[in-house]
């Protein structure tokens, strides 16, 4: 059975056979149902084998890595998958993002959207995963999110490389008049050992591309990997240390204009009165135009340069409609609490008999707590931006985005043209974190391009506009109770969590005519699917619309449910007189992968050994996006405030394709979470976001950054994600450390409301 575990579900379903020297899998499925978009854009002498590989006559190899590069290193890892099977060094390939195309659908992003925890491999769970993945394919949903790109690309990219290699070998066999089996590949050449003759990939590329793709391909065994499993130099690192113009803000087109937007700061509202004359008359201003989309309404400024556009946008005199939602944070919190108190909701996990277990619970065995977290902004370093040109009925959009096919569709609607007249050029992203899965910045650039007489317009938002028009990480509140047994372990745990629905929010601004189907898993994600065995265990999600646009934010629901679940576990441990790590060992005994992570991080951090005065540690664990992650945070008291001294992370990702990039992602995710826990919140007054820039929504700085120690494990038989998994345990591990140090159980984030950090 172990070998079947190594073969992915998809390969398994279409029939896989293990053979000597590799794993043969049916290849035909990967060519259907979408055509290869590269066929329309080949350069002279270039040949394409599938949507991922192009080879020129001179042997130059281009790999298409059709996922957004936002710092997670995906362009490097996807290219490494192809290079491994194509038998060329990673340095020998040029990596491009490629066009928006249904061929680049992501079938993993939705696969875990069903109601089953990651470890559930029942036929029903697997069937639903396959069906959900199929939705991504049928929709042709090209997207980067849900820490899914490597899982999605693991087979597909390797098969693309292997298929191309097999075709090249077949063509070389014909060219050399020898049998294909007598040929070997390496470093971009195909060699006939017996005669010493060889040809380059470029020599036979054109002939090879004419051949029928193989009906099955043979993939290397892991032991034969030369690139995968080892840390690679990132393919874009040189560009990033030399200031190369690779980002959305760096797009330059001939005859280009510049622009910005000023949208209603009250969501879903329009201008009730506006005087554009002052803005229009400012130097450098070409035009001030209204914008009205499903995302929001307001104005755009087209100018000779960005600074002129910024100044003119500020000079627009405008009054906006009043908010149709609670106007301030107190009102929003009240609505969340109201939702929590109301009966009902969707029970995403319900084991044992929770109601009976609590009915006769003696008070001294009862633990009860209420938790709350605020809205959060993404604060990508590159503010929202896109460049658009609408000329002769064709729209070109240069956009640092996570959803090219959706961007194409919604921008086509704004331009009033068909999608086949839209070209989306995806640049590198100056941070994404889910924010760039939205289409607003591309749509607004399109709206300005409509008014620019065929000239391209590069539209850059101010940081203030970016902060106040985000699709925020939802605020959430939870009520938790536990009944402890005589040994201090929980016999019953109930969690009720209220939050706005991310899915409903996305539909409202993208496809408003579609109603969400079923409950939104993100409300309970990270609470309902954790590897704990508790006899009576219920987790209920309650949707509470607060009127604020909410969206994907690094780890989404896991980012607040990890905090809720793991801080409450810490409370249970404390009340039961159990060490927090020991409590996890007891409750996770049915999940060996989780247990191994807990043990590893405990050993690394020397958990339980005496600490210096004024120093304490906190522990937390979250299984998210298929990866099992434990973190220990050590804090200490200094004259200037609390310091985070060190963070230990152990993560089981199943298969580690690039340890260096994984380490960077785990540290990155943890810092993102620690930043939020320490001091971030988005608050409201008069229906508007109160924060505006880094001075009032800051993140961790160099002097606050702890040391890190990371261990990557590969025990579980399914591959997990990487980009988001470091975030969820970071917040509760810090809060639990602060409790251990100060005795303050802080149940409302950010922690800076009650303690100060150096």
């Amino acid at each position: 059975m172990a070998s079947i575990g190594k073969i992915t579900r998809r390969a398994f379903l279409i029939g896989a056979t293990a053979i000597t020297g590799g794993i043969a899998v049916g290849y035909y499925l990967y060519r259907r149902p979408y055509p290869n978009p590269l066929e329309d854009e080949l350069a002279e002498g270039e040949a394409t084998f599938n949507p991922y590989v192009k080879i020129a006559g001179d042997g130059a190899i281009t790999v298409i890595a059709p996922r957004a590069e936002m710092g997670q290193g995906i362009s490097t890892t996807l290219a490494a998958l192809v290079a491994e099977e194509l038998d060329v060094p990673l340095e020998a390939v040029t990596v491009e993002h490629g066009p928006a195309s249904y061929a680049y659908y992501n079938s993993e992003m939705l696969a875990e959207g069903g109601p089953f925890p990651f470890w559930d491999e029942s036929i029903m769970a697997e069937t639903v995963r396959g069906a959900m993945g199929g939705v991504g394919k049928v929709l042709g949903l090209q997207g980067t999110g849900g820490s899914s790109s490597t899982r999605d690309g693991f087979d597909r990219m390797r098969q693309a490389g292997a298929a191309a290699r097999q075709m090249l070998v077949a063509a070389a066999a014909t060219s050399l008049g020898v049998a294909a089996r007598d040929l070997a590949t390496g470093d971009g050449r195909i060699t006939h050992a017996a005669s010493g003759r060889s040809v380059g990939y470029g020599d036979v590329a054109a002939a090879a591309a004419e051949l029928d793709p193989p009906s099955e391909v043979v993939l290397k065994q892991r032991a034969d990997w030369r690139i995968l499993g080892k840390s690679q130099n990132r393919v874009d690192m040189r560009d990033k240390v030399t200031g190369a113009p690779i980002f959305g803000v760096d797009v330059v087109q001939p005859d280009m204009l510049f622009g910005t937007v000023r949208m209603s700061p009250r969501f879903w509202q329009k201008a009730t009165r506006a005087d554009l004359s002052k803005a229009q008359a400012m130097p450098g201003v070409v035009k001030v135009v209204p914008i009205d989309t499903t995302y929001g309404s307001g104005f755009g400024v087209i100018a000779d340069n960005t600074w002129a556009a910024f100044r003119a946008a500020e000079a627009i005199e405008v009054e906006w409609g009043t908010a149709g939602y609670p106007a301030d944070s107190a009102g929003m919190t009240a609505r969340l609490k109201e939702a929590l108190a109301s009966p009902g909701g969707n029970s995403a996990r319900d084991e044992g008999d929770v109601d009976t277990a609590f009915a006769d619970a003696p008070g001294e065995r009862l633990v009860e707590a209420e938790y709350e977290v605020p809205f959060l902004a993404h604060m990508c370093m590159e503010p929202m931006t896109a460049t658009a040109r609408l000329r002769d009925g064709v729209l070109d959009v240069w956009s640092p985005n996570q959803f090219p096919t959706m961007t194409r569709q919604l921008c086509a609607d704004v331009a009033g043209i068909e999608t086949d007249k839209v070209n989306v050029h995806t640049t590198s992203l100056g941070g994404g974190f889910g924010r760039r899965g939205e289409m607003d910045f591309s749509m607004y650039a399109t709206a300005l391009a409509r008014e620019a007489g065929g000239r391209p317009v590069k539209v850059t938002w101010t940081r203030e506009e970016d902060t106040r028009h985000d699709t925020y990480r939802p605020a959430a509140a939870g009520r938790f109770r536990a009944r402890l047994g005589s040994d201090g372990s929980p016999e019953a745990v109930e969690m009720r969590i209220a939050s706005p629905s991310v899915v409903a929010g996305i539909l409202r601004r993208t496809f408003p005519s579609i109603s969400p189907m079923g409950p939104d898993k993100s409300i309970v994600d990270g609470a309902c699917n954790q590897p704990y065995t508790i006899p009576h265990y219920r987790v209920t999600g309650i949707e509470a619309d607060l009127g604020v646009p909410v969206g994907f934010w690094r780890a989404v629901g896991n980012s607040f449910n990890g905090f809720f679940h793991e801080c409450f576990m810490d409370e249970i441990a404390e009340r039961g007189g159990t060490d927090p790590v020991e409590l996890r060992r007891r409750l996770m005994k049915d999940y060996p992968a989780a247990l191994a992570v807990v043990d590893k991080v405990a050993t690394m951090s020397d958990w339980g050994s005496p600490l210096a005065d004024g120093t304490a540690k906190g522990f937390a664990f979250t299984l998210s996006f298929g990866s099992w992650v434990g973190e220990v945070v050590q804090v200490s008291q200094s004259d200037a405030g609390l310091r985070i001294d060190k963070v230990w992370i152990a993560a089981d990702v199943g298969t580690a394709l690039d340890p260096g990039i994984l380490e960077a992602q785990l540290v990155s995710g943890a810092i993102y979470g620690l930043s939020a826990a320490m001091g971030q919140e988005i608050t409201f007054a008069d229906g508007m976001v109160e924060q505006s820039n880094f001075h009032d929504h800051d993140a961790m700085r160099m002097h606050q950054c702890p040391a890190f120690e990371v261990a990557i494990l590969e025990n579980f038989h399914k591959m997990g994600g990487a980009g988001e998994i470091g975030t969820p345990p970071a917040l509760p591990a810090l809060a639990n450390a602060v409790f251990a140090l100060t005795g303050k159980r802080i149940r409302t984030l950010p922690l800076s409301k009650e303690v100060s950090f150096a």
């Binding site: 240390v241 330059v252 990508c380």
Partner: protein, 153 residues
């Protein structure tokens, strides 16, 4: 007005109130320095003026005197500067957007202090925000660059 940028003289015709960042990016086509905040709070726009790190997003071009060096002016004939090479060796960048500013601040730090302590690094670098959390590798790269420079001295 005339500016010296990366060893070249450039002529800029603009309102003297325009921040240097936008003159460089939109008028001179020097795209290395990045726009992050517009209020000198994130450091993505950092350039050197006569060797000192300056937030170009808040500096009016009318007030600029001295030689400007941007990230685009650090490499010589395709050879990376010691600091850039250390960034490459430590594989520092993730999204990379803030790194031009980080490298400029680090370059200024190492020009001033040849073997900076952790506290020196904190003081010099805390004005440069990184949302990807590359700080541990930035620290390692600065130490590597310092060691390289000392070994060459």
């Amino acid at each position: 007005m005339r500016l010296t940028v990366d060893g070249k003289q450039i002529e800029i015709d603009a309102d003297p109130d325009m921040p240097l960042l936008w003159a460089l990016r939109d008028l001179a086509g020097i795209l290395g320095p990045k726009f992050g905040c517009g209020i000198a709070a994130c450091g993505a726009c950092t350039v050197l003026i006569d060797g000192s790190p300056v937030r170009s997003c808040v500096l009016p071009i009318g007030g600029v005197e001295g030689e400007i060096v941007t990230i685009e002016g650090l490499a010589r004939d395709g050879t990376l500067s010691v600091v850039q090479q250390a960034w490459l060796d430590e594989q520092v960048a993730q999204c990379g957007y803030c790194q031009a500013g980080q490298i400029m601040s680090a370059t200024a730090l190492l020009d001033e202090i040849e073997n900076p302590t952790d506290e020196d690094i904190d003081n010099a670098m805390s004005g440069n925000l990184c949302r990807c959390g590359t700080y541990p590798r930035i620290r390692a790269a600065i130490k590597r660059a310092a060691a390289t420079k000392l070994a060459r001295a």
